[in-house]
Amino acid sequence: MRPLRSRAGGSTASFWRREPGPIAWLAIAMSFTAACIALWWFVTRPGGPVSPLFLPPPMDVVDAFVRLLARPYLGSTLGRHIASSLSVVIGGWLAAGLVGLPLGIAMGWWRKARWIAFPIFQLLRPIPPLAWIPLAILWLGIGDSARIFVVFIAAIVPWVMNSMQAVYSIDGLLVRAAMTLGASDRQILTRVVCRTALPTLVAGARIALGNAWTTLVAAELLAATSGLGYIALNASRTLEMGILLVAMAIIGILGASFAIGMQLLTRLVAPWSAT
């Protein structure tokens, strides 16, 4: 991001208007974060203004994390809960990709495929994936299959829409150049179209994974017997605030690692598009 530079000249306001250097940036970031944690500790100290049932002290959260690591909670260890969440999210996301990627590419390339399938997606797209959860529970029960179904619904729309858009908006000059050079239809599709579209395809995969994760957490609050969302809901019912915050933090950290991982993947498969 381009910094917004103020006029040259050393007025007193220049500290606020100048982009800090990397070291200053780190120092500001760390001291502000530390100040927030200190404030958190201060307001939740015994006899402090905030009740531990509203926000537990930082040490309680650390304790809860250690306790979760040491012994099983709600029938499984923390690792098993995380593995259960991850397997559903990856399973639904991959299944959606296996269907959505070819479908989207076909819809981008053949106009008849687009004319037929696009209205159906337009009809289904405004319905939030979360709204499918009650239906999934009625149809499939509260097992893994209901959650995989909901994650699949959440992930397939970005898969299809991005791959369609990517293939559709390819510069016609590239295609005509390949034709002139004697490429067959199949070669054009695999060597020119899919390659040029790759960054957008990966972007679709990234959005799909983010959607899948958000939706899975929701599904686990409603229908699950394991998983991080299930931990969070139970901890909130039993008023174990520490465990609730640990579950939320792990959900956030995993979501962030998905986003970072997909960015690295973009750099790996399409280095020319990385910013």
Binding site: F32, R111, D171, L244
Partner: protein
């Protein structure tokens, strides 16, 4: 722009071909649904009600109260909570976004915490929001706020940081104070990006609200479909889902129209699909 492959427009036919194909596809979909439910033994009506049942259920829900209120009542409850949440997100998110873009040290201070919280899905806040605020409208509005806020901040910040420094210097040279510069130079340049943020925020807020209503609350469209699940009525779930989808689509359509009115200079960055 050069000619593209793909849609070669055929002139001469009276009905546009894409519409014809689309109508055929949708007709086939509904006919398949109806046939599957009409022929006994294919699918049980408990699993998939016929389209006629769903239409009948829609009129029933629109007239008779179900789970506390009529369909309209649930929709109004949902829309109210949604509006409180998104307006709070706009009111707080846009000024914060401007501030973060204008004062880089503030950005450095807030970024770590903001990034950490941003990756927690809004829905994961439901259990703690219930503990904080109980099963009230405020809980739902808080979830909507959490879902809508990051999009407002990020897009405002992006838009403001894209303002060319030369414009700011020109404004300064012409004698504009910081407030005039903000109002007359920065905000118009950043407006398209801010508007994109608003659109994303409104959509995210609507989605998160449905999720929050599934877990807590005694009213709203999300509550309606969860009651449909408990009462084993797939038709009620279908009606609720369609109402949620239709309202979400209507909100987005209104925003698109508003964008054309408020920001007539913004040109579409991607080629529209046909």
């Amino acid at each position: 722009m050069t000619a593209m492959p793909g849609p070669r427009r055929r002139t001469g036919s009276s009905v546009p071909q894409p519409a014809l194909y689309g109508a055929l596809a949708l007709t086939a979909l509904f006919a398949g649904w109806w046939l599957a439910t009409a022929i006994p033994g294919v699918v049980s009506p408990r699993v998939l009600p016929s389209p006629l049942d769903v239409v009948a259920r829609f009129f029933f829900l629109a007239i008779e109260p179900f789970s506390g209120s009529t369909l309209e009542g649930h929709a109004i409850a949902s829309l109210t909570r949604w509006l409180i949440g998104v307006l709070a997100a706009l009111g707080l998110g846009i000024p914060i976004g401007v501030l973060l873009a204008w004062l880089p040290p503030c950005r450095a201070a807030i970024t770590p915490i903001f990034e950490l919280l941003r990756y927690i899905p809004p829905f994961a806040w439901v259990p703690i929001a219930v503990l904080w605020l109980g099963a009230t409208t405020a809980t739902q509005a808080l979830i909507v706020f959490i879902a809508a806020f990051p999009a407002c901040v990020i897009n405002t910040q992006l838009g403001v940081s894209q303002v060319e420094p030369i414009l700011l210097r020109a404004a300064k040279t012409l004698g504009a104070g910081p407030w005039t510069t903000l109002r007359r130079v920065v905000l118009p340049v950043a407006a398209p990006s801010i508007f994109t943020g608003v659109r994303i925020a409104f959509g995210n807020g609507w989605m998160a609200l449905v999720g929050a209503e599934l877990v807590v609350g005694k009213q709203g469209l999300g509550f309606l479909i969860s009651q449909g699940q408990i009462n084993d009525s797939v038709a009620t779930i279908f009606v609720g889902m369609m109402a949620i989808g239709a309202l979400g689509a209507a909100i987005d359509a209104l925003l698109q129209r508003a964008q054309r009115v408020i920001l007539p200079w913004k040109t579409a960055s991607v080629r529209p699909l046909e």
